[in-house]
């Protein structure tokens, strides 16, 4: 056990990612030194921009694959999804760490970040989000402890294994609460957020969509990392996994339609204005087409169909969050906001850091089941014989 066999393969893509991450990191320091005014395009009309809209709201939702997979595999005991559980939960952990960094960049008085723990401002939705997200990130780090101690600090492995059941349960409970709370944040925008998106059901919509985007995200990720690392994606698992998304998307769509009619906002869909068109794009491209793919066996079983389902669902979710934060607010707020170069580069840098971290962990820890992990089998064989 003298050598731990750490490896990180360098490829041109990875070099680019490292460069992007470095630029992002440098600009984050610049933001802390210079303040929000000079580095972002935020203003009094648009106090929340890309960092909250994309890095935080969208980031948390896309990391939803972690808790949804954990629920199905570890709590409901659906064993056939087990092969993808660790990968999904790793993405989620990295996602949340990035969200925390993004949030830290966005708050103006960052040295006060701990205040809400003490102030107890429990009437604010943000209070719940803050508590749940920070607790859940801690829980995920501990959950990862079980994976990490397979390789480093082995004597702690038993302790982590013992804690795991409690962690898994809390690790599903917390995201359920804050995924919905992120939607609740916008309930206070009554009369400001365009009626196609404002609803008292916002928390339900955010929760459902964070759940059904999970399998889609896992699909996209499996296909991508299969290309990057040379192992075979779990087609069978993915095909039945996206059916879970499909059923939930039908429920989501039905609720959306009922809600629109109930609030008398259904007429706004076909007005042909920016809001109406963006809403249609989101619902048709991100919900209806994926549902069709999902329930047409021929499409679902093809590689292209699977990829299309994943990409469309993820894009649909991103568009939904963008619509809530920007499209739906622009008519009321007026003025203009477009993220500055620094806002873009910091966001891109964060994503690059996440991808690099994922690749590193997958290469060095037991995340993807061995039998499908051909590229590393040799290496493992050497280690075991040694």
């Amino acid at each position: 056990m003298a050598t731990k066999n750490w490896s990180f393969r360098m490829t041109p893509t990875r070099a680019v990612l490292i460069a992007l991450a470095a630029i992002g990191g440098a600009l984050m320091i610049a933001r802390l030194v210079l303040g929000l005014g000079p580095t972002t395009n935020l203003n009094d009309q648009w106090p929340w921009g890309m960092w909250i809209g994309f890095d935080v709201l969208t980031g948390v939702a896309l990391a939803g694959g972690g808790y949804s997979t954990c629920l199905m595999v570890n709590i409901m005991g659906i064993k056939k999804f087990a092969p993808i559980a660790r990968a999904a939960m790793l993405t989620s952990l990295i996602g949340y760490l990035l969200v925390m960094v993004g949030l830290f960049m966005d708050i103006g008085r960052w040295f006060n970040f701990w205040r809400p723990f003490v102030s107890w401002g429990h009437t604010s939705i943000l209070f719940e989000v803050f508590w749940c997200v920070s607790l859940y990130t801690t829980v995920q780090l501990l959950e990862f402890g079980e994976v990490a101690t397979e390789k480093v600090g082995k004597r702690w492995h038993k302790v982590f294994k013992k804690m795991l059941p409690a962690l898994l349960i809390i690790g599903v409970l917390l995201p359920t609460l804050h995924q919905s709370s992120l939607g609740s944040l916008y309930v206070i925008e009554i009369g400001k957020l365009y009626p196609l998106w404002w609803s008292v059901l916002l928390p339900v919509f955010f929760l459902l969509s964070s759940f059904f985007v999970g399998p889609a995200m896992v699909t996209v990720e499996s296909l991508l990392s299969a290309r990057a690392t040379g192992h075979k994606p779990e087609y069978g698992v993915l095909q039945s996994l996206i059916k879970v998304s499909g059923y939930l998307m039908v429920v989501y769509l039905a609720l959306k339609i009922i809600d629109l009619f109930y609030r008398g906002a259904a007429g706004l869909v076909f007005l042909g204005n920016l809001e109406g068109n963006m809403f249609l794009l989101e619902i048709i491209g991100g919900i209806i087409i994926p549902i069709i793919i999902c329930f047409t066996p021929k499409l679902r079983k093809s590689k292209g169909g699977l990829a299309a389902f994943g990409i469309l669902t993820v894009a649909g979710l991103v568009l939904n969050r963008m619509n809530v934060v920007f499209t739906g607010m622009s008519d009321y707020i007026g003025g203009s906001y477009f993220p500055s170069a620094i806002e873009w580069l910091v966001s891109i840098g964060l994503v690059a850091m996440g991808v690099l971290a994922y690749l590193f962990v997958v290469e060095n820890f037991n995340i993807i089941p061995k039998e499908h992990h051909q590229a590393y089998e040799e290496q493992d064989a050497v280690r075991h014989s040694a």
């Binding site: 106090p47 409901m76 960052w110 803050f130 349960i169 008292v200 928390p203």
Partner: protein, 267 residues
């Protein structure tokens, strides 16, 4: 007791004394590019109040008239900013003012999004910025004085007093004189505010937001927050139940499996 201010728009001549008094009392910076009076004036980190000039066509003859609207924080009875603040940096005091405590502020700016009147502004140019808005001179009120702006108004457009007395005066005024619109802005808006307006021209033409909900804004989210513990407990119990059930099922399956193996061996 809770104090309030009545703004009678028909009496305002747009002199801007109130905005000057505000700058002086609160030690706010004058900026060439951000006037406190006129058509282009608006609230920002250094303008806690401004007097906006509005040109409107009035009456059947459509004659063009000028009106002046003093803007500042309306100091809601149940403020959305205070309910939205997760570090309690905004608090409604019993005197009426909604006061900001900078030491608690994290700088998340959710208050700016939550405010139904878009009042809180931010010090964008500062490295460590604060949220800024009219505080309704809480220390002056505590000492038995009126806010700086109301103190200097030369035309009687601003009346400071007990909330119920000010509201009664507003009702009397609009009922006595037919030139007034029969609407006290701030009586019901956002569940009621400590600043009230009366006018002879419709409020929407003056740039007021007239589609504000009459429910106190915090109600919308507090209902959700109150549900959270119950939802959390139920869901937590359900998850634990599912987990235990499935683990037991697996154990039984394993036991049976090994039993069968043993039986086979015995045979």
């Amino acid at each position: 007791m809770s104090k309030a201010v009545l703004v009678d728009i028909t009496k305002c001549v747009g002199c801007g004394s109130c905005a000057v008094a505000c700058k002086m009392w609160n030690d706010l910076e004058y900026r060439q590019d951000s006037p406190i009076m006129g058509k282009e004036s608006k609230l920002d980190a250094e303008n806690w109040t401004n007097v906006k000039m509005v040109e409107i066509e009035k009456g059947p003859e459509k004659e063009t008239v000028w009106r002046f609207v003093k803007n500042q924080c309306l100091h809601c009875e149940e403020p959305a900013c205070a309910s939205a603040c997760f570090s309690k940096a905004f608090q409604k005091s019993k005197d009426g003012p909604v006061v900001y405590n900078p030491t608690l502020c994290v700088g998340c700016r959710y208050c700016m999004l939550a405010c139904p009147f878009d009042v809180p502004k931010y010090e964008w140019s500062k490295v460590i910025p604060l949220v800024r808005k009219c505080q309704m001179c809480p220390d002056r009120i505590r000492d038995g004085n009126s806010p700086a702006c109301t103190e200097v108004c030369p035309t009687g457009a601003l009346t400071f007093g007990e909330h119920n007395q000010v509201l009664n005066k507003a009702r009397e005024t609009i009922n006595k004189d037919s030139k007034y619109i029969k609407h006290i802005y701030g009586e019901k808006e956002a569940g009621g505010t400590s600043w009230l307006y009366i006018s002879d021209v419709p409020f929407d033409k003056l740039g007021f937001r007239t589609d504000v909900t009459t429910q106190p804004v915090p109600r919308y989210t507090e209902n959700i927050m109150h549900l959270t513990p119950a939802v959390g407990l139920t869901w937590g119990a359900l998850l634990t139940g599912m987990y235990v059930y499935n683990r037991r099922r697996n154990e039984i399956a394993k036991e049976e499996h090994s039993k069968k193996k043993n039986d086979k061996k015995k045979k």
